[in-house]
Every structure is written in C-alpha cells, then in structure tokens.
C-alpha cells in the first residue's frame, strides 16, 4: 500500500492502537511458557502491527520493512530455531534437549530459556512471513 490511506481519525486511532498491539505481542511471547500463547500468536500480533502501519501511513510508515528484508528475516527466524537445536547437539545433548546449556540455573529454568529461544525464532519467522506476503500483494498496484 503506497498511498497514504489514513484520515486524521484513522491516524490518531492507529497511533493509540499499535503500541498496545506490540506490547501485547511481547507479553504473549514472554508469557507463552506459563499461559496460552507462544511464538505463532506473538508473530501474528507483531505482523499485524506492521501491516496496520503500512495500511494507514503508506510509504511514510515508521515500521516499514521491505518485502526482500522480510523474507531474509523469516529465514533468520527459522535459522534461530534450527541453530538452537544444533547448539544442543554440539553441547553433547540430543537435538533440542534444552537441559544441556552450560548455565548456572536449575534444570527447569534452562528448559524455559531454550523454549523462549525457539519461540523467538518462531515469532520472527511468522512476523516476517506475514509482512512479506502483505508486501508482495500490495506492490502489485505499481503495475
């Protein structure tokens, strides 16, 4: 969406909405260990925040991430997940066995940290995929 879509009402409403969406996404990501939520949901929230920004503000969007960058970012997110698995193998554990991280914590906390790591990877992947698809769809009006 390259033209600015928002009127003054939309612009103001969106300024109030987007920070809360992003804070809520962060909460869903960090609290996914204890409550419903997790990487996929948090990624959808972050993706929606960026898409809203692009819809309302057009080319002058603050959170503008181009389609090519978004695809690279999605790859990085998937890589983080796989890399944590490979890291646990290099530390003489099984693939994705989070207990082997050499940290001064109890077993459960190491597991929680590992789970948070892969959830961050999932979040980045889902967010970037949503942005990439949105970008590819809306760029079509440049034909």
């Amino acid at each position: 969406m390259n033209r600015r879509f928002g009127t003054i009402v939309l612009g103001t409403a969106f300024r109030f909405l987007v920070p809360f969406i992003m804070v809520y996404g962060m909460y869903v990501l960090m609290h996914g260990e204890y409550s419903p939520g997790g990487g996929f949901q948090a990624g959808a929230l972050f993706g929606i925040a960026v898409v809203l920004d692009r819809l309302v503000q057009g080319e002058e969007a603050m959170l503008s991430i181009s389609g090519t960058k978004a695809v690279i970012l999605a790859g990085i997110g998937t890589f983080i997940y796989g890399f944590i698995g490979v890291l646990t193998v290099l530390l003489n554990g099984n693939f994705l066995e989070y207990g082997v991280f050499p940290l001064d914590m109890i077993e459960g906390e190491r597991h929680a940290l590992g789970i948070l790591g892969i959830e961050i990877g999932v979040t980045i992947c889902v967010m970037a995929t949503i942005i990439a698809i949105f970008d590819a769809l809306t760029r079509r009006e440049e034909w």
């Binding site: 698995g85 789970i115 990439a132 590819a136």
Partner: protein, 102 residues
C-alpha cells in the same frame, strides 16, 4: 485412460478411508490408546521432565520440538513461495504491454 486411472485411484482411496474410519477409536473415548498412554504421561511427568508449568508449551516446544521446527519451516517455505509467485507474475505482466525491459 490416464483420467480413468486417476479417478479409479481416487475412488479406491476414498473407499479405503471410509472403511478404515470404522476402525478408529470413538471420539472422547477414555479407553482409547492415546488417552491411556500418551496423555497421562504428559499430565503427570511434563512438569518434572521439562520444567514448564504449561502442558501445551511442554508438548509443543519440548516433546514435539521436531514437529514445531517443521511447522516453522513450512510457514517460511509457504511465504517464500507466495512471494516468488507474485513477483514472477509481476515481471511477466511488465513484459507484455510495452515490450520494454529494464
């Protein structure tokens, strides 16, 4: 002929699916194998084995970590394929009207 074979194959497959459906355990049956062995293990042991207070997270990220890795890869691949297809469509339509190439 090819069409006949594919229709025949599809019909056979549908028939087999319908037949095997009767062999599945009844929905919400507490005596089904999954409810007898898998669920109690997750409910009883997941906290001490994974340290996660949430079954869903324990199953998603710990017991079935491979599965979630696959899901993430599927999302990435699907997004990549969508972007590539849409970009290819755009390039094609650029070429047709003016014949000018950048």
């Amino acid at each position: 002929m090819t069409r006949f074979i594919s229709f025949f194959g599809l019909g056979l497959m549908t028939l087999m699916l319908f037949i095997t459906t009767s062999g599945l355990p009844v929905l919400f049956d507490p005596e089904s194998p999954a409810a007898l062995h898998v669920s109690p293990r997750y409910i009883e042991k997941s906290h001490e084995e994974t340290g996660s207070p949430n079954f869903v997270t324990a199953v998603l990220a710990d017991y079935r970590g491979y599965d979630t890795l696959g899901e993430t890869t599927v999302i990435f691949t699907a997004g990549l394929a969508t972007v590539l297809l849409l970009r290819a469509a755009r390039k094609d339509s650029d070429r047709i009207p003016g014949g000018k190439e950048e």
